[in-house]
Symmetry: C2
Subunit: 148 residues, 2 copies
C-alpha cells in the first residue's frame, strides 16, 4: 500500500503556499525550487485548482495562491484532488463484488478501513501542519457491520 509521488508533491506545494500566503501569488518556478519537477508540478497544481484548493492569477506577475482558510484545507482534500478518492478495493465502492462468494465478509473490512483512514486524513488541516501541532485526536469511528 503506497501513495504516488503526486500526493507527496501536492502536500509539499500546499504547505509552501500556506507559508507564503501573505506574500501574493507564487509562480510555479518558485514553488518548484525545492527540487520538484516543474512541469509535472504544473499538472498537480491544475488538479488542486480544479479541486478548489488554490486559485491562480494568469499573466505576468501571476502565480498560485491558497484559496481558503488554512483550517479548512485538509490533507484528505489535497490527496483526493491529486490522487482521486481513497479506494482500497472495488469491493468497497462497487456493489456486485466477489462474484460467487455468497457472503463476502471481507467487504466490511474494506469499508471499515476506508472510513477510518478517511477520517484520519480529514483530521489534519494545513493549519495543523504549519503549527506543528499534534493532529486530530478523534477516536476511531465505532463500527457496526452493515446488514445487507
Amino acid at each position: 500500500m503506497k501513495l504516488s509521488t503526486r500526493g507527496q508533491y501536492a502536500l509539499h506545494a500546499m504547505v509552501f503556499l500556506a507559508q507564503k500566503a501573505q506574500e501574493g501569488p507564487q509562480p510555479l518556478r518558485t514553488i518548484a525550487e525545492a527540487g520538484l519537477p516543474e512541469q509535472y508540478l504544473e499538472q498537480l497544481l491544475g488538479a488542486l485548482r480544479r479541486g478548489g484548493l488554490v486559485t491562480t492569477i494568469r499573466g505576468a506577475a501571476g502565480g498560485y495562491q491558497i484559496a481558503r482558510p488554512l483550517e479548512e484545507i485538509t490533507v484528505a482534500s489535497i490527496l483526493e484532488s491529486t490522487e482521486g478518492p481513497l479506494n482500497l478495493s472495488e469491493c468497497a465502492t462497487d456493489q456486485a463484488c466477489c462474484p460467487k462468494s455468497s457472503a463476502c465478509i471481507t467487504r466490511d473490512v474494506w469499508l471499515y478501513l476506508t472510513d477510518n483512514i478517511n477520517s484520519l486524513l480529514q483530521g489534519i488541516t494545513l493549519q495543523d501542519v504549519l503549527h506543528n501541532k499534534p493532529y486530530g485526536v478523534k477516536e476511531h469511528q465505532s463500527y457496526e457491520p452493515r446488514l445487507s
Copy 2:
C-alpha cells in the same frame, strides 16, 4: 491511494481458510473456486506461507492451512506479506528526503499517518472478521512531532 488486488485476494483466501480451519488442508483449486485466478492466487499463498501465516502440505491430498490462532493473524500481517510494508512516502522511511527543503515539515504528516494506519490494520484479526465483531476501537495514537 489504493490497494492492489493482491491484498484483496489474500484477505479473501485467508478468511476462507479460517472458515475451513477444522476441515484439513484446502487445495488451491478449492480456494480459488470463489472466482479468483488460480495460478495468480498460488503466488499469493506462497507469500503468505513465507510470511508464516499459512502452512502447506505437499503432494496428493495436500493443501493450505491457517498456521496460527485466528486472533494472532491481523489484516496488517496479511497485507504486509502480500504487498510489502506500508510506505506512504519515501520521505517517511528514508532519511535524506526533500533535498533542498531545509525544514521538511510534511515528513511529520507521513510518519503520523503511517503509524496510525498501521495501528488500524493491526487492530483487526481474522477472529474479528469471522465473528463480524466491531473491530478494535483503540484511540488514535497521540502525536508529538519529533525533534530532528
